[in-house]
Amino acid sequence: MSQPKKAMYHIQPQLVFFLVHTMQAGIGILSFQRQIAIEAGYQSWIAIIIAGLIVHGIIWLIYEILNADENRNHLPAIHKAYFGKWVGGMLTMVLLFYFFFMATAVLRTYIHIIQLWMFPKVTMTELAIPLLFVVGYAIYHGFRVVTGVAFFGFMIPIWLLFTNLAPLEFGETMNILPLFDTSVSEQIRAVETMTLSFIGFEAILFYYPFIQNGKASQKWAHFGHGVTVIAHFFVALTSFLFYSEPQLKKLLYPTLSMWKIIQLPIIERFEYVGIALWLIVIMPNLTIALWVFSRGFKQMTGMKQKHTLTIGLVLSYLSLLIIQTYDQTVWLTETVAKVGMMILGIYIPVLFVISKVKKKKGETS
């Protein structure tokens, strides 16, 4: 009787594809091409591939860490076992707030876009309250629904990728030629910037126990990330063909500006539809990140997840009140990205080494 019940609340390993992909694809796709172009010009497409490969490695490391010990298959437990209650708890806390601020930054940026493009006079509260309510409603019904949001967050907006083909009518192949006129230092900086667009997938560290047969999900995680890389590559390529380099560097959200050129028989000015549909893209970002926050908090403090969720939503709203200007929004996004960089580049490898050492010790003793 309990076995099928349990299966209902676990998710199929294939669904990790959506969880990984939608957590990576978010508000970043609207502007990453500008940032990498600033670093490495139009040759920065190389950096997308390199950064993609590096992140594949990090996903492999994460799965190694999670599979090291079957009894400790999520981060709070791993932290507790490796670093003890206090130090481990502090580390978990850092990660939880990292996810919390990731959600907040995404939400603030999205609201900023709406204020910039659609409704200059709309207040932050007016949009934040319904959005947070919908996010809370999803998390309240558990991880199965959160996964469903990720699923729809992929299936509904994925066709938006094809809208990037239309602007190629005005594409100019000369823009990206010559292909390999670049330096290593430029590429390294661009790889660094590009990796920031891929952060978010490390939420696996928290939802891993919810996956039926976790080990089988690894290939789906790699697959999900692979699709993210392809999508970013495609968007970058079409933008590079469409814009001249100095022009791209001037635009805040090149992807949105690119939609301006699309003219359909019933919709002129596609960017407005695009902005509205982008809500579905950022929804998984918000739900997964805040789910991680509420779940991790529950595991650390023993509070009910209902309560930690409420705390998360209220805190998120309050921090939105503090971040008023565009510069502050950018600052928050960049800070979250820097922390994410450190987590992926330094902390995960260190954790990997520790887990290997501990495993060796366990085997010898």
Partner: protein
């Protein structure tokens, strides 16, 4: 009980007010004036005149559909919107703006300040056309009705679009203007319209250096530019004179063309070879029959004329220091560094050699 009912009524009234009145700024379709065209005339260094056309849609009570114009002078681009709004019964809305017109003086003095204000406004589409007006002020051009089309704004816009799509004008719009304006390897160009009898006509293009128009090209030169600029374009026609004295000529319709740019970087002054592959069909021929020897004659005459005229065009552009052919971008894409200051000088002294390869695909349904 009674107070409950009253509360309910009050509540639902409040809700109704909320949903109709609250929320972001509304742009209810019939409560705004949709600007179709905005045009600018140069007055002096500090002043210009802005003119917008707005369609007044007819209905049972308001009669015929017509176009009205509003005009005023101003110092800055920001200010003009306020001044124009001051004359309008409903708020002016620029979301459906289709074309931006400049008079000749304005084009020569530089347009970037004005274009920049449109650029920052997310409501402006990227398919907006920048159009130059020849021989006349924009105000006079807009303040007229033309028999061929009800709304002047639509007329101008469709005119330009049609000529880009099927005729001799190379492809351009606000996006292409900006892409070329910012890129050091290319310069923008815009189509020019002119009054002809009681209608308008497209009269070639203006090419820019930075944001100033420096060179005007005729329709025939525009076609040459289109040949040099676009791949696989299907549009444009060219008249080839075979024998001036006997008034023998033919009209070729472009089916397919492609231009290849090859640089010789070993040459110290940099030389450029442009190969045009031109495939066309004969649209019109004034002579009697088209024998194969005649066809050969046409082919060689066409080759000669294209090579001569394209060469003259490139020289003209080089002399005016304007690069609408994106030769700089071609050089860069082949690995030549154009970011240093003496690119302008290099461009001026570039040795350009043009070779045309003409194929006549068909002669129409008659031999």
């Amino acid at each position: 009980m009674k107070s409950n009912g009253q509360r309910l009524i009050k509540l639902s009234l409040a809700l109704l007010l909320f949903i109709t009145g609250c929320g972001p700024q509304q742009n209810i379709l019939d409560e705004i004036r949709i600007m179709h065209t905005i045009g600018f005339d140069y007055i002096d260094d500090n002043h210009f005149r802005g003119t917008v056309t707005i369609p007044i849609y007819g209905s049972e009570t308001e009669g015929e559909t017509r176009t009205e114009i509003i005009t005023d002078t101003s110092r800055t681009a920001k200010d003009i919107k306020v001044k124009l709004d001051a004359q309008s019964s409903k708020r002016l809305h620029n979301g459906k703006l289709q074309s931006i017109l400049f008079d000749e003086t304005f084009l020569q003095e530089g347009v970037s300040e004005l274009v920049d204000t449109f650029l920052r406004d997310p409501k402006i589409g990227m398919r907006v056309q920048l159009i130059g007006v020849e021989d006349k002020s924009v105000l006079d051009l807009l303040d007229q009705t033309y028999p061929i089309e009800e709304h002047v704004a639509r007329y101008i816009n469709d005119l330009v679009d049609q000529n880009i799509e099927d005729q001799n004008i190379p492809k351009t719009n606000l996006h292409i203007y900006l892409a070329r304006f910012y890129d050091e390897g290319a310069d923008p160009f815009i189509p020019v319209v002119k009054e002809k009898d009681e209608n308008l006509k497209v009269n070639g293009i203006m090419t820019f250096n930075e944001d100033r128009a420096v060179c005007k090209l005729s329709l025939r030169e525009s076609f040459m530019m289109k040949l040099l600029l676009e791949e696989l374009n299907d549009g444009g026609a060219i008249e080839i004179a075979l024998d001036e004295d006997e008034n023998e000529f033919t009209v070729l319709r472009n089916i397919m063309s492609e231009a290849n740019y090859t640089f010789d970087f070993n040459d110290p002054s940099l030389s450029l070879q442009i190969d045009i592959d031109f495939k066309a069909r004969i649209n019109e021929y004034s002579g009697q029959t088209l024998s194969s020897s005649k066809l050969n004659e046409i082919t060689s005459a066409t080759k000669e004329q294209i090579e001569n005229e394209a060469g003259a065009l490139v020289t003209q552009l080089q002399e005016n220091n304007t690069d609408p052919l994106a030769i700089g971008m071609h050089a860069r894409s082949k690995g030549y560094d154009i970011s240093n200051d003496d690119w302008d000088e290099t461009y001026k002294n570039l040795d350009v050699n043009i070779n045309a390869d003409v194929t006549i695909l068909s002669t129409g349904i008659e031999e």
